[in-house]
């Protein structure tokens, strides 16, 4: 990990509530403070219902907090308009989901092209970049395959290539190995390490597995909507 002290994500007193104003109002996050440095490989762990998915949605600019401030690469996310948010999601963050979320009936290459399509890149550029990225994750011989024809691990590799499409600074992975066998999961983790080390990507890994978390540089433990522990792990450093 390149030691850079540049803060890429800064969360201040983030509060997220559901059913605001209703009798069953529910506060999920009770004031989260978190800073993520550029090039860091960080994991967020916690039990189900600890609020880690909610936190991920906020970090991924899919959702806005009810109070607190969120600064991503110098942009105040809380004040950004929807149109701007979609641009941020498309260019600055690469999402990797537990369920892969590849678009059905479309080839691996077309899936990788999607973020570039929404960014408005010309066809040729999209295609060559998509092929490059698929090669990077070891899926070059599968570019014409549709998600239905791929195994879980292969799908997740295509999803990682897709997350990398617009060369975002941050990769946000939500339980990326949760649906995979240990061998496929291992390959995925290896790719993450490579992207972190060789490409300098800031990676935020959300997981409930302590073993996977221990591979990362820093482990943030969430419990009942609060950060209860931040621990540096020697493993990846």
């Amino acid at each position: 990990m390149q030691k850079e002290n540049k803060i890429i994500i800064e969360l201040n007193k983030i509060v997220k509530k559901y059913y605001v104003g209703k009798p069953n109002e529910l506060e999920i996050l009770h004031g989260i403070d978190l800073q993520v440095y550029k090039g860091e490989f960080i994991s967020i762990v916690g039990e189900s219902g600890s609020g880690k998915s909610t936190l991920m949605n906020i970090i991924g600019a899919l959702d806005k907090p009810d109070s607190g401030s969120y600064n991503l690469e110098g942009i105040d996310i809380c004040q950004a308009k929807e149109k701007h948010l979609s641009e941020i999601r498309g260019r600055r963050i690469g999402f990797i989901f537990q369920t892969y979320n590849l678009v059905a009936r479309t080839t691996a290459r077309a899936n990788v092209e999607l973020p570039m399509l929404y960014r408005g890149l010309p066809k040729k550029e999209r295609q060559s970049r998509a092929e490059e990225l698929l090669e990077l994750v070891g899926m070059k011989d599968r570019i014409w395959h549709k998600p239905e024809e791929l195994s879980g691990g292969q799908k997740q590799r295509v999803a990682i290539a897709r997350a990398m499409a617009n060369n975002p600074g941050i990769l946000l992975a939500d339980e990326p190995t949760g649906a995979l066998d240990s061998q496929s999961g291992r390959k995925i983790m290896d790719i993450f390490h490579r992207l972190n080390k060789e490409h300098g990507k800031t990676i935020i890994l959300i997981t409930h597995s302590p073993e996977l978390a221990s591979e990362t540089g820093r482990i943030v433990t969430l419990c009942d909507g609060r950060i209860i522990n931040v621990r540096r792990s020697g493993a990846a450093c």
């Binding site: 949605n57 991924g60 899919l62 959702d63 929807e82 149109k83 979609s86 641009e87 999601r89 498309g90 260019r91 999402f95 989901f97 369920t99 979320n101 678009v103 059905a104 009936r105 479309t106 999607l114 973020p115 399509l117 929404y118 960014r119 408005g120 010309p122 066809k123 897709r162 617009n166």
Partner: protein, 428 residues
């Protein structure tokens, strides 16, 4: 660029649910198909009418006397009603006289080709002692065949001298000749046949045989068919014991008369003075053109009315499209969430689903046009006047089906666009 991708996505989505897409399109197919078919039939019907009128003579002006519209329904004394002013039946003084016609012909010498007059006598039987034939007897003047074209097979037509000499001659059709004599040849000419009219037998000598032609409006192929037979007008007047003069005649205009309607007006103006003091009747004229015009108008009105009803099935089809789009976006909620996470703007999502809906309707529309073509061709074949489906109807159909796609696709597409990405991604 995005639109091409959207079209690809739309085709992919529609083809992955072939049966569902086809069933959804059915409403559009039926709607567009019936509109096209109706338009084709109406065009074909117009053609049939136009042909028939052409046969009857587009250059003809029909002039006749018409009962005056009673303007003063209640008179000053409050007792007499307008209808009581005259007897109502046509009297000799009301009819157009030979004198008037001669004057008319002289005044418009260069514009009038002939004046055709016919007096309808009615259905009669003709008998030659051994066989009989049904005929529809009319008395005609020498100008008659200028307005009604016939093909002479044997003998001659009725001439002016027949009328002046009040000769008992008759022209019959080849069908009637066949019924009476079993053959058509020169020998039949000058044969005597007896016409039974009003219980009395009148003898006539055959002077000509014409070819009977079936037309669209009467296609009776039975052997004992009633065909027209012509006798001199003077003989007809005698049979009918009717007044001198004519209630109606046809002016056949000369070649090169530009404005038939205008000329009809001139004729009316010419004859008007004769009727200025007539309380009951006035002169009125009509042209084939104006008659055809009103016929076309009627066909158009009817076809628009039926098309409107067919349009309702388009509405139902459109609602079907909307319904299936709602199902589609619900099924693809997760995909929508994913696309949003990958940087898709709301407008991109909206465009994607509107494109899908438009493509669905457009394919439906094209299939509908093909269906309409086939149905229209079959119907036009039955009417006996082949026409291509009218181009405006096709353009309208394509445009309308696209508009249906946009209109009924907008609501579901907008719903998709406004989905909350977090909830969409969480959707199972």
């Amino acid at each position: 660029m995005l639109i091409i991708e959207n079209i690809k996505i739309a085709f992919g989505a529609l083809f992955s649910n072939k049966m569902r897409s086809l069933l959804t399109m059915l409403g559009i197919i039926i709607g567009i198909g019936s509109v096209i078919a109706i338009m084709t039939v109406s065009e074909s019907l117009g053609g049939v009418v136009s042909d028939s009128f052409q046969d009857m003579g587009a250059n003809n002006i029909t002039v006749g006397i018409k009962k005056r519209e009673q303007e003063e329904s209640v008179r000053a004394d409050g007792m007499k009603f307008g209808a009581a002013a005259g007897s109502g039946s046509i009297e000799e003084k009301d009819l157009v006289t030979d004198e008037m016609l001669t004057g008319l012909k002289q005044t418009f010498q260069d514009k009038i080709d002939a004046v055709a007059i016919s007096e309808n006598i009615g259905s009669c039987t003709a008998n030659n002692g051994t066989a009989s034939a049904n005929i529809l007897l009319s008395g005609i003047n020498d100008g008659y065949f200028a307005s009604s074209k016939i093909t002479l097979l044997a003998g001659r037509r009725i001439k002016a001298s027949d009328i002046e000499g009040n000769k008992r001659v008759i022209m019959i059709s080849d069908k009637a000749a066949k019924n009476l004599f079993n053959s058509i040849n020169e020998n039949i000419l000058c044969q005597k046949i007896a016409i039974n009219y009003n219980g009395k037998y009148e003898d006539f000598y055959i002077t000509g045989i014409y070819k009977y032609e079936e037309n669209t409006f009467s296609s009776d192929s039975s052997s004992n068919i009633t065909t027209a037979a012509y006798i001199p007008l003077s003989a007809a007047k005698e049979l009918l014991h009717s007044y001198e003069g004519y209630s109606q005649f046809t002016v056949v205009t000369a070649q090169g008369t530009e404005d038939i309607s205008l000329f009809a007006e001139e004729i009316e103006q010419y004859l008007k003075p004769y009727y200025i003091n007539n309380e009951d009747y006035e002169i009125s004229s009509s042209t084939m053109e104006s008659m055809a015009e009103s016929m076309y108008e009627m066909i158009d009105t009817i076809s628009i009315a039926i098309s409107f009803i067919a349009g309702i099935s388009l509405l139902v089809g459109g609602i079907g499209v909307m319904n299936i789009m709602m199902v589609s976006i619900t099924e693809r909620t997760k995909e929508i969430g994913t696309r949003k996470a990958l940087g898709a703007r709301n407008s991109s999502i909206r465009l994607q689903f509107i494109t899908e809906s438009v493509i669905l309707c457009l394919i439906g529309g094209i299939l509908g046009i093909i269906t309409g073509f086939i149905l229209g061709a079959i119907a036009a074949g039955i009417l006996g006047y082949q026409v291509a489906a009218p181009l405006p109807a096709i353009i309208f159909s394509v445009g309308f089906s696209m508009a249906t796609g946009v209109f009924f696709g907008y609501y579901p597409a907008n719903k998709a666009a406004k989905m909350n990405p977090v909830e969409a991604l969480r959707y199972e």
